[in-house]
Symmetry: C2
């Protein structure tokens, strides 16, 4: 499975505020094909479980020898802890968990809302970067550049 820096989307959103993080170590008997299928199955929950907004995953590449044996990291996002609870109870998730858990030698799950420490250092998102040029361009063009008036423009 190649690495592509993309996000699963849900309703145009790239991620919810709450992160549901699952760390796992597969059993020695689990084959690579089974691992690949389980990862695809996890990602597929985005389309089966409404409150699940996004899914991304990765393999640990750390060098500090502090991963406590966990090899795979699965990140899902949600809008709230209530949505996480709804996801956990959803039949599609229950069915998937019953396939995944027997293949894991170790599993760890945490839910949290990632926040920054310095609100004054609020990150300029792509919205900020690309909204400003739109405003500037609108100003430069004047209202006269609106399409309905284009056919009235005469150039030197």
């Amino acid at each position: 499975m190649e690495n592509q820096s993309t996000e699963e989307k849900k309703g145009g959103k790239c991620g919810g505020d709450y992160k549901h993080l699952v760390l796992g170590k597969f059993t020695q008997e689990t084959t690579q094909q089974e691992i690949d299928d389980l990862i695809k199955g996890f990602a597929n929950l985005v389309s089966l479980v409404p409150p699940m907004i996004s899914f991304r995953w990765g393999k640990d590449v750390s060098q500090e020898n502090l991963n406590q044996g966990y090899t795979h990291i699965f990140e899902s996002t949600f809008d709230s802890t209530e949505d996480i609870a709804e996801y956990l109870a959803h039949p599609a998730h229950v069915e998937y968990a019953n396939k995944l858990l027997p293949k894991l030698e170790k599993v760890l799950v945490v839910d949290y809302k990632p926040v920054a420490v310095h609100p004054s250092a609020e990150c300029r998102t792509e919205i900020d970067y690309y909204f400003t040029p739109v405003l500037v361009f609108s100003f430069m063009c004047e209202p006269d550049c609106l399409p309905q008036q284009l056919n009235k423009l005469q150039l030197d």
Copy 2:
């Protein structure tokens, strides 16, 4: 420490491709003030260590009783594993780690590059949402709307 949904910024970027995830459980003797100071210290590494792009944190609020005792999650991002290695060796990080680790009863660290499973479901980022209107507007305005030609326009 209040929850604010913001990101630490570095050079206009909101996050690198690689995530350095630290899970921790503080010792019973560690006071809340010490925890708050250690979190601020962790966040401050963004300004002290060039390759560290962003920092966010959260407390575990999971309900499945699978957090293996970890209570705090610290996310940092980097552009590459080489940058993570540079961060780990940086004197500011070494000094900080020597303050943090003695206060942790348990610690877990993983590094990974989160990716999606379905590249065709590539998330439309805010760049896509706001770039398209700029292009459409440019088309609607024709080249004749460029600022250097505005003074040549005559309207009916």
